[in-house]
């Protein structure tokens, strides 16, 4: 079982890598920098997933590859976020705004209407939201984590 210090170090390393490179790291990428073995880093990734801090890929079930370190998605999604001269993808519409919230930065979000497919541009300018869309969530709050991939 990873220690609290290991979990904190690994979590910080994950987010630092994503913010710096826009690429989700693997346990092997962060282990040395955290001063732990790859096996310990693997265990930390799993523990962070169990705590709903990050989300691992579903397949294979033994995977410790990140699917997301919310609000950042590991893969391209329909919610592109440009901020600080870089681009990331939000896990969902809420998380698209979560990226500038985490970065404490303004951002331009490009998405598409789930109903019409019309392009949507919105984001954060001078610290305030801009755009005319609405965010529609399908899953009630109490069930967000029942199936986070669907949510």
């Amino acid at each position: 079982m990873p220690t609290d210090a290991e979990l904190r170090a690994v979590r910080q390393a994950i987010y630092r890598a994503i913010v710096d490179t826009a690429v989700a790291p693997r346990p092997a990428d962060v282990a040395a920098g955290c001063g732990i073995s790859i096996e310990r880093a693997d265990a930390a990734f799993r523990a962070l997933a169990d705590a709903h801090v990050v989300v691992l890929r579903q397949s294979p079930s033994s995977s410790t590859e990140l699917w997301a370190a919310p609000p950042f998605a590991a893969d391209e999604t329909g919610f592109r976020v440009d901020a600080n001269g870089k681009s990331w993808f939000g896990v969902c519409a809420w998380d698209a705004f979560g990226v500038p919230a985490a970065l404490h930065a303004d951002a331009r979000i490009r998405a598409a209407c789930a109903w019409s497919g019309e392009p949507i541009e919105c984001g954060v300018r001078d610290g305030a939201a801009f755009g005319t869309a609405v965010v529609h969530l399908l899953v009630p709050a109490a069930r967000f984590w029942d199936d986070i991939f669907y949510t």
């Binding site: 913010v19 705590a51 979560g98 919230a101 985490a102 305030a128 005319t132 009630p140 709050a141 109490a142």
Partner: protein, 46 residues
């Protein structure tokens, strides 16, 4: 929810995500966040 609500919710939820002191909101804290932002009703009940 409106984009203003999404932004307010995101700031409350993710504003400290990169901090070494980050922790996920407790259920009570999440309820307070939803209420403060005007996200009410059965959908937002925890």
């Amino acid at each position: 929810m409106t984009l203003d609500q999404a932004w307010a919710l995101s700031r409350a939820w993710y504003g400290n995500r990169l901090s070494p002191d980050f922790r996920r909101p407790t259920v009570d804290e999440a309820r307070e966040i939803f209420e403060r932002i005007g996200l009410a009703g059965e959908f937002w009940r925890l």
